[in-house]
Symmetry: C2
Subunit: 133 residues, 2 copies
Protein backbone atom coordinates (compact mmCIF):
# COMPACT_ATOMS: atom_id res chain seq x y z
CA UNK A 1 0.00 0.00 0.00
CA UNK A 2 1.28 3.47 -0.85
CA UNK A 3 2.59 5.47 2.12
CA UNK A 4 2.70 9.24 1.82
CA UNK A 5 5.60 9.46 4.31
CA UNK A 6 7.65 6.99 2.25
CA UNK A 7 6.85 8.70 -1.03
CA UNK A 8 7.55 12.26 0.09
CA UNK A 9 8.94 14.34 2.95
CA UNK A 10 5.46 15.11 4.28
CA UNK A 11 6.07 18.87 4.43
CA UNK A 12 8.77 21.53 4.43
CA UNK A 13 11.87 19.96 5.98
CA UNK A 14 13.38 22.00 8.84
CA UNK A 15 16.06 19.47 9.77
CA UNK A 16 17.02 15.96 8.80
CA UNK A 17 19.61 13.28 9.29
CA UNK A 18 20.01 9.68 8.19
CA UNK A 19 17.35 8.35 10.60
CA UNK A 20 14.65 10.99 10.80
CA UNK A 21 13.46 14.42 9.76
CA UNK A 22 11.52 17.36 11.20
CA UNK A 23 8.96 19.04 9.01
CA UNK A 24 6.75 22.08 9.44
CA UNK A 25 3.02 21.37 9.41
CA UNK A 26 1.08 23.96 7.46
CA UNK A 27 -2.10 24.15 9.54
CA UNK A 28 -4.16 27.28 10.01
CA UNK A 29 -3.93 28.66 13.57
CA UNK A 30 -0.89 26.49 14.46
CA UNK A 31 2.20 28.31 13.17
CA UNK A 32 4.77 26.26 15.14
CA UNK A 33 3.24 22.83 14.55
CA UNK A 34 6.02 20.36 13.59
CA UNK A 35 6.26 16.66 12.87
CA UNK A 36 9.22 14.43 13.56
CA UNK A 37 9.14 11.55 11.08
CA UNK A 38 11.20 8.36 11.15
CA UNK A 39 12.68 7.93 7.67
CA UNK A 40 12.03 4.21 7.20
CA UNK A 41 8.56 2.69 7.29
CA UNK A 42 8.17 1.48 10.87
CA UNK A 43 4.83 1.19 12.60
CA UNK A 44 5.37 1.57 16.36
CA UNK A 45 7.99 2.98 18.74
CA UNK A 46 8.53 -0.54 20.10
CA UNK A 47 9.44 -1.69 16.57
CA UNK A 48 12.59 0.46 16.94
CA UNK A 49 15.51 -0.81 18.98
CA UNK A 50 16.35 0.95 22.24
CA UNK A 51 19.02 3.23 20.79
CA UNK A 52 16.78 4.25 17.87
CA UNK A 53 13.93 5.01 20.30
CA UNK A 54 16.21 7.13 22.44
CA UNK A 55 17.51 8.99 19.39
CA UNK A 56 14.02 9.64 17.99
CA UNK A 57 12.73 10.92 21.34
CA UNK A 58 15.84 13.12 21.61
CA UNK A 59 14.80 14.73 18.32
CA UNK A 60 11.17 15.10 19.49
CA UNK A 61 12.32 16.77 22.71
CA UNK A 62 14.70 19.03 20.76
CA UNK A 63 11.69 20.23 18.74
CA UNK A 64 9.75 20.77 21.98
CA UNK A 65 12.66 22.72 23.44
CA UNK A 66 13.05 24.88 20.32
CA UNK A 67 9.32 25.65 20.21
CA UNK A 68 9.22 26.52 23.91
CA UNK A 69 12.15 28.91 23.51
CA UNK A 70 10.79 30.58 20.39
CA UNK A 71 7.06 30.70 21.07
CA UNK A 72 6.56 30.39 24.86
CA UNK A 73 3.40 28.26 24.42
CA UNK A 74 0.97 27.59 27.27
CA UNK A 75 1.41 23.84 26.69
CA UNK A 76 3.19 21.43 24.40
CA UNK A 77 1.19 18.54 22.93
CA UNK A 78 3.08 15.44 21.78
CA UNK A 79 1.36 12.60 19.95
CA UNK A 80 2.24 9.52 17.94
CA UNK A 81 -1.04 8.27 16.46
CA UNK A 82 -0.74 7.06 12.85
CA UNK A 83 -4.08 5.29 12.55
CA UNK A 84 -4.48 6.53 8.98
CA UNK A 85 -0.73 6.71 8.20
CA UNK A 86 1.01 3.93 10.15
CA UNK A 87 4.52 5.26 9.45
CA UNK A 88 6.09 6.36 12.72
CA UNK A 89 5.77 10.13 13.27
CA UNK A 90 5.32 12.52 16.18
CA UNK A 91 3.15 15.60 16.23
CA UNK A 92 4.80 18.38 18.27
CA UNK A 93 2.24 21.13 18.75
CA UNK A 94 2.70 24.36 20.68
CA UNK A 95 -0.67 25.19 22.23
CA UNK A 96 -1.98 28.60 23.30
CA UNK A 97 -5.07 29.56 25.29
CA UNK A 98 -6.39 31.45 22.26
CA UNK A 99 -5.72 28.79 19.61
CA UNK A 100 -8.61 27.26 17.65
CA UNK A 101 -9.15 24.21 19.92
CA UNK A 102 -7.63 25.01 23.35
CA UNK A 103 -8.08 23.30 25.82
CA UNK A 104 -9.33 20.53 23.53
CA UNK A 105 -6.84 18.39 21.62
CA UNK A 106 -6.46 19.71 18.07
CA UNK A 107 -8.48 16.66 16.94
CA UNK A 108 -11.42 17.66 19.14
CA UNK A 109 -14.09 20.31 18.78
CA UNK A 110 -12.92 23.63 17.36
CA UNK A 111 -13.86 26.49 19.69
CA UNK A 112 -12.69 29.60 17.80
CA UNK A 113 -11.53 30.81 14.40
CA UNK A 114 -7.81 30.56 13.63
CA UNK A 115 -5.69 33.70 13.55
CA UNK A 116 -3.46 34.10 10.52
CA UNK A 117 -0.20 33.83 12.50
CA UNK A 118 3.01 33.63 10.49
CA UNK A 119 5.63 30.99 11.32
CA UNK A 120 9.22 32.18 11.70
CA UNK A 121 10.64 29.26 9.77
CA UNK A 122 14.23 30.53 9.71
CA UNK A 123 14.28 30.92 13.51
CA UNK A 124 12.89 27.41 13.95
CA UNK A 125 15.47 25.90 11.59
CA UNK A 126 18.22 27.73 13.46
CA UNK A 127 16.95 26.58 16.89
CA UNK A 128 16.78 22.95 15.68
CA UNK A 129 20.24 23.10 14.14
CA UNK A 130 21.67 24.38 17.44
CA UNK A 131 20.14 21.44 19.32
CA UNK A 132 20.71 18.62 16.84
CA UNK A 133 23.84 19.34 14.82
Amino acid sequence: MACELCEGDGGEVLWRDRQCRVIRVNESGYPGFCRAIWNTHVREMTDLDASERTRFMHVVFAVESALRELLRPDKINLASLGNATPHLHWHVIPRFRGDPHFPNPIWGAQLREPDALPADVAALQQALAERLS
Copy 2:
Protein backbone atom coordinates in the same frame (compact mmCIF):
# COMPACT_ATOMS: atom_id res chain seq x y z
CA MET B 1 -4.60 25.52 41.85
CA ALA B 2 -5.81 22.03 42.72
CA CYS B 3 -4.38 19.25 40.51
CA GLU B 4 -6.28 15.98 40.30
CA LEU B 5 -3.07 14.05 39.54
CA CYS B 6 -1.38 15.48 42.66
CA GLU B 7 -4.39 14.84 44.86
CA GLY B 8 -5.08 11.25 43.74
CA ASP B 9 -3.68 8.41 41.67
CA GLY B 10 -5.94 9.25 38.71
CA GLY B 11 -7.24 5.69 38.38
CA GLU B 12 -6.57 2.08 39.33
CA VAL B 13 -2.80 1.72 39.72
CA LEU B 14 -1.30 -1.16 37.70
CA TRP B 15 2.34 -0.42 38.56
CA ARG B 16 4.26 2.29 40.36
CA ASP B 17 7.68 3.28 41.56
CA ARG B 18 9.18 6.35 43.20
CA GLN B 19 9.07 8.46 40.01
CA CYS B 20 5.93 7.45 38.15
CA ARG B 21 2.89 5.20 37.98
CA VAL B 22 0.77 3.42 35.40
CA ILE B 23 -2.99 3.50 35.81
CA ARG B 24 -5.85 1.90 33.95
CA VAL B 25 -8.23 4.32 32.25
CA ASN B 26 -11.84 3.29 32.63
CA GLU B 27 -13.24 4.37 29.26
CA SER B 28 -16.00 2.61 27.41
CA GLY B 29 -14.79 0.82 24.27
CA TYR B 30 -11.09 1.09 25.29
CA PRO B 31 -10.35 -1.80 27.67
CA GLY B 32 -6.54 -1.56 27.51
CA PHE B 33 -6.27 2.25 27.73
CA CYS B 34 -3.53 3.15 30.25
CA ARG B 35 -1.91 6.35 31.49
CA ALA B 36 1.67 6.73 32.64
CA ILE B 37 1.79 9.59 35.14
CA TRP B 38 4.88 11.34 36.53
CA ASN B 39 4.46 11.47 40.30
CA THR B 40 5.56 15.07 40.90
CA HIS B 41 3.82 18.07 39.35
CA VAL B 42 5.88 18.79 36.24
CA ARG B 43 4.43 20.42 33.15
CA GLU B 44 6.47 19.32 30.13
CA MET B 45 8.85 16.51 29.18
CA THR B 46 11.61 19.11 28.73
CA ASP B 47 11.12 20.13 32.37
CA LEU B 48 12.54 16.71 33.30
CA ASP B 49 16.28 16.11 33.14
CA ALA B 50 17.60 13.73 30.49
CA SER B 51 17.73 10.66 32.73
CA GLU B 52 14.19 11.27 34.01
CA ARG B 53 12.93 11.67 30.45
CA THR B 54 14.60 8.43 29.41
CA ARG B 55 13.16 6.61 32.41
CA PHE B 56 9.64 7.94 31.83
CA MET B 57 9.71 6.99 28.13
CA HIS B 58 11.03 3.55 29.11
CA VAL B 59 7.89 3.12 31.23
CA VAL B 60 5.64 4.39 28.40
CA PHE B 61 7.23 1.95 25.96
CA ALA B 62 6.91 -0.89 28.49
CA VAL B 63 3.17 -0.19 28.60
CA GLU B 64 3.07 -0.15 24.78
CA SER B 65 4.96 -3.45 24.67
CA ALA B 66 2.67 -5.08 27.26
CA LEU B 67 -0.46 -3.92 25.43
CA ARG B 68 0.84 -5.14 22.07
CA GLU B 69 1.61 -8.57 23.51
CA LEU B 70 -1.70 -8.92 25.31
CA LEU B 71 -4.13 -7.29 22.89
CA ARG B 72 -2.50 -7.30 19.42
CA PRO B 73 -3.97 -3.88 18.56
CA ASP B 74 -4.03 -2.52 15.01
CA LYS B 75 -2.19 0.59 16.22
CA ILE B 76 -0.83 2.12 19.41
CA ASN B 77 -1.59 5.78 20.09
CA LEU B 78 0.72 7.72 22.43
CA ALA B 79 -0.04 11.25 23.56
CA SER B 80 1.11 13.77 26.14
CA LEU B 81 -1.38 16.63 26.00
CA GLY B 82 -2.34 18.02 29.42
CA ASN B 83 -4.05 21.21 28.28
CA ALA B 84 -6.68 20.82 31.01
CA THR B 85 -4.43 18.96 33.48
CA PRO B 86 -0.87 20.25 33.02
CA HIS B 87 0.70 17.50 35.16
CA LEU B 88 2.90 15.32 32.96
CA HIS B 89 1.10 12.17 31.81
CA TRP B 90 1.04 9.92 28.75
CA HIS B 91 -2.02 8.31 27.23
CA VAL B 92 -1.17 4.82 25.89
CA ILE B 93 -4.13 3.63 23.85
CA PRO B 94 -4.43 0.34 21.97
CA ARG B 95 -6.51 1.04 18.87
CA PHE B 96 -8.60 -1.40 16.85
CA ARG B 97 -10.32 -1.00 13.50
CA GLY B 98 -13.67 -1.59 15.18
CA ASP B 99 -13.19 0.74 18.17
CA PRO B 100 -15.51 3.73 18.67
CA HIS B 101 -13.33 6.32 16.87
CA PHE B 102 -10.93 4.42 14.55
CA PRO B 103 -9.21 5.77 12.42
CA ASN B 104 -9.91 9.08 14.17
CA PRO B 105 -7.99 10.00 17.32
CA ILE B 106 -10.09 9.17 20.40
CA TRP B 107 -10.63 12.93 20.81
CA GLY B 108 -12.17 13.19 17.33
CA ALA B 109 -15.57 12.23 15.99
CA GLN B 110 -17.03 8.98 17.32
CA LEU B 111 -17.94 6.66 14.46
CA ARG B 112 -19.54 3.66 16.23
CA GLU B 113 -20.94 2.52 19.55
CA PRO B 114 -18.49 1.05 22.07
CA ASP B 115 -18.51 -2.68 22.75
CA ALA B 116 -18.55 -3.71 26.40
CA LEU B 117 -15.11 -5.32 26.32
CA PRO B 118 -13.66 -6.42 29.65
CA ALA B 119 -10.07 -5.53 30.57
CA ASP B 120 -7.85 -8.35 31.81
CA VAL B 121 -6.35 -6.25 34.58
CA ALA B 122 -4.39 -9.08 36.20
CA ALA B 123 -2.68 -9.96 32.91
CA LEU B 124 -1.78 -6.31 32.34
CA GLN B 125 -0.32 -5.95 35.83
CA GLN B 126 1.70 -9.10 35.29
CA ALA B 127 3.01 -7.97 31.89
CA LEU B 128 4.05 -4.59 33.34
CA ALA B 129 5.74 -6.17 36.34
CA GLU B 130 7.77 -8.42 34.02
CA ARG B 131 9.00 -5.41 32.06
CA LEU B 132 9.58 -2.90 34.84
CA SER B 133 10.50 -4.76 38.02
